[in-house]
C-alpha cells in the first residue's frame, strides 16, 4: 500500500493546515478563560465573537444567533428537546423524516417516550421528502419540522426552501440538520426560512468536538446545559476556545473555497459515478442523480456484502464506508437505504465514497479499477450470484 486514498469525507475530514495554525496559539499562549476580567483572557472573548460573526456571515444570520456546541449531535438534540419543551403549550407534534441522522431519529424516539408525537415522513426513491406528504402531516399541534439539509449517506439535497416556506406559512418552527451541507452548498437562513440549523466543525476541515446551533432571534428555546452565562446563558460551560477558533477558521476557508472546490469535486464525482455505472454490471446509484452533495457517490452492488468490500478496499489503501448491517453493528442495513426502497440484500451491498478537494482523477481511476476487481472476486464467491447466473442461463 503506497498511498492512502481517503474517500470517507462524509465521516470526517482532514483538518486544514490553516485551521491548525489558527488554533495552536489558543492552547499554549492564549489559554485564558474568556469569562475572566483581565485583558489576557478577555481578548479570547473577542476572538470568539469574531468566529461567531464569520459563521453568521456564512448563513446570512446575526452573530448573536450562533450558539457553539460540542458538535452536530448535541445541536440536533438541543433543537428538538428544547423546542419540544418550550412549545409544549402550543402542541406536542413534531414532523421529521425517515432518513435523518440518528441524532434526530433517536431524539425523536426519546420524545415519543416523553409523550410527544413524531411523524417520520417517507422519501421517494431518490431520497427526497415529498412536499405533499409534509403538508398532509401538519396538525394544529405541530410545533416543529426538522428535515436534514442533505443526507449523510446518499447525499440527496432536500427542497429546503420549499419546506421552509411550508413551515412559515403554517407558523411552525423549522430546524435543519445541515451537518453535511454546511460549507458544501450555499445556505441562507432568511431565504430558506430556517429557524434552527445544526452544523459540525469536523465535516468541513475543522476540528472534532465543536459545532454550533443557529437559533433565529425570537425562537424561545431554553438552556440546554445549565450553569454559567456562556452562550447567552443557553449553553453553559467554559468555551472550547481552540475549537471555536478552528470552526470559525474552517468556515471562512470553506466559504472562500466553496465554488472552486465543489466544482472540482462534482466533476470527479460524476466521473466516478459514470465509470462505475458503465463498467460494473448490476450496480445502482443511490441518491438523487443531480441534487446531491458535490462530493457524494453511493452505490449498491448486487450479490455482495458491504463489509467485505470495505475490507478489500482497505487492503488497497482505499477508505470508504457502507450501509451494510455488519458495519452498523445491527442486523439491519442502513435505515436510509431501506427508506429509499432498496431490498435488504441490495442495501447490504452498498458503498459510499465521499471525495475531498485533494482527490485526483488518478485516485478515482485507481478506485474504479480496484472496485471492479474486488466486486468481481466477491461475486465469484457469492451464492446469490451463482443462483442469479444459473437462473439466467
Amino acid at each position: 500500500m503506497s498511498k492512502l486514498i481517503y474517500l470517507d469525507n462524509a465521516a470526517t475530514t482532514k483538518v486544514a493546515q490553516e485551521v491548525v495554525d489558527a488554533m495552536i496559539p489558543y492552547f499554549t499562549e492564549n489559554y485564558g478563560n474568556p469569562s475572566s476580567v483581565y485583558g489576557f483572557a478577555a481578548k479570547n472573548k473577542d476572538a470568539i465573537t469574531k468566529q461567531r460573526e464569520i459563521i453568521a456571515g456564512a448563513l446570512g444570520a446575526q452573530a448573536n444567533e450562533i450558539y457553539f456546541t460540542a458538535g452536530g449531535s448535541e445541536s440536533d438534540n438541543w433543537a428538538l428537546k428544547a423546542t419540544a419543551e418550550a412549545y409544549k403549550s402550543k402542541g406536542n407534534h413534531i414532523i421529521t423524516t425517515k432518513i435523518e441522522h440518528h441524532a434526530i431519529l433517536h431524539t425523536g424516539d426519546y420524545l415519543e417516550k416523553c409523550g410527544y408525537e413524531v411523524t417520520y415522513l417517507d422519501v421517494d426513491e431518490n431520497g427526497v421528502v415529498k412536499l405533499e406528504d409534509l403538508k398532509a402531516a401538519i396538525r394544529p399541534t405541530t410545533i416543529l419540522i426538522s428535515v436534514m439539509f442533505a443526507n449523510n449517506e446518499i447525499g440527496t439535497i432536500q427542497p429546503i426552501k420549499e419546506i421552509g416556506a411550508i413551515a412559515r406559512e403554517n407558523g411552525i418552527l423549522f430546524h435543519t440538520d445541515a451537518v453535511q451541507a454546511f460549507g458544501q452548498v450555499p445556505i441562507n437562513v432568511d431565504e430558506y426560512n430556517i429557524d434552527m440549523l445544526s452544523a459540525s466543525g469536523h465535516k468541513l476541515n475543522g476540528p472534532k468536538g465543536i459545532g454550533f446551533l443557529y437559533i433565529r432571534k425570537g425562537v424561545k428555546i431554553r438552556s440546554f446545559v445549565h450553569g454559567g452565562a456562556q452562550e447567552r446563558k443557553r449553553r453553559a460551560g467554559t468555551e472550547n476556545v481552540p475549537g471555536i477558533i478552528g470552526l470559525g477558521t474552517a468556515t471562512a476557508r470553506a466559504m472562500r473555497t466553496m465554488e472552486e472546490r465543489t466544482a472540482k469535486e462534482k466533476e470527479l464525482r460524476d466521473y466516478l459515478i459514470g465509470r462505475i455505472l458503465d463498467e460494473v454490471p448490476y450496480v445502482k446509484l443511490n441518491g438523487h442523480p443531480e441534487n446531491r452533495l458535490p462530493n457524494n457517490a453511493n452505490f449498491s452492488f448486487r450479490f455482495i456484502e458491504g463489509e467485505s468490500l470495505l475490507i478489500m478496499l482497505d487492503m488497497k489503501g482505499i477508505c470508504g464506508s457502507s450501509g451494510s448491517a455488519c458495519t452498523s453493528g445491527s442486523l439491519d442495513p442502513s435505515h436510509v437505504l431501506l427508506a429509499i426502497g432498496l431490498p435488504h440484500e441490495i442495501a447490504h451491498g452498498s458503498l459510499r465514497l465521499t471525495l475531498s478537494e485533494e482527490t485526483t482523477k488518478e485516485d478515482i481511476d485507481y478506485v474504479v479499477e480496484s472496485v471492479k476487481e474486488i466486486v468481481a472476486n466477491l461475486r465469484n464467491m457469492s451464492p446469490l450470484y451463482e443462483d442469479f447466473v444459473r437462473k439466467n442461463k
Binding site: 467485505s308 475490507i311 442495513p333 440484500e345 464467491m381 451464492p383 451463482e386
Partner: protein
Amino acid sequence: MYTEKVMDHFQNPRNVGEIENASGVGTVGNAKCGDIMRIYLDIDENQIIQDVKFKTFGCGAAVATSSMATELVKGKSIYDALKVTNKAVMEALDGLPPVKVHCSLLAEEAIHAALWDYAEKHGIKIEGLEKPKSDIHEDEEEESEEY
C-alpha cells in the same frame, strides 16, 4: 478488528467454488440479514469427505469462517466432520469479535446442512445429525429486478 488468520482466510479463501453433482449441498443464512453460506461436499463410498467447496455472501468473518470450516472437514469422515463445531472454527481462526460469533455458527450449520442433504439423497441416517434450522430453500423467492 480481525485476527491475522481471519484476514488471511478472508483475503485468500480456501476451497471457493462449486462441485458438479455434489454428494451434498447445504445453504444456510438469509440475504436479509446479510449472510448466506453454501457448502458443497464430495463424499466417497467410505463416507470420507474427498472434496469440499463453498460460496459465501457476507462479511469478512462470514467468508473466513466458511473457508476455515471447509479446511477442517476436508479429508474427514462424515462423523468426524459432524464434530467440527463453531467453537473449533473460531479457535482455528484465533478468535472472532463478539458480534461475529454468529458467522461461525452459520459455518457449522452450513456443514450440517450439506451433510443432511447427503444423508437424504442416499437414504441414510447420520447419528447425531439434526435437521439444520436455517436452511433456505432453492425455490425461495428471489429479487429479480435489474439495474
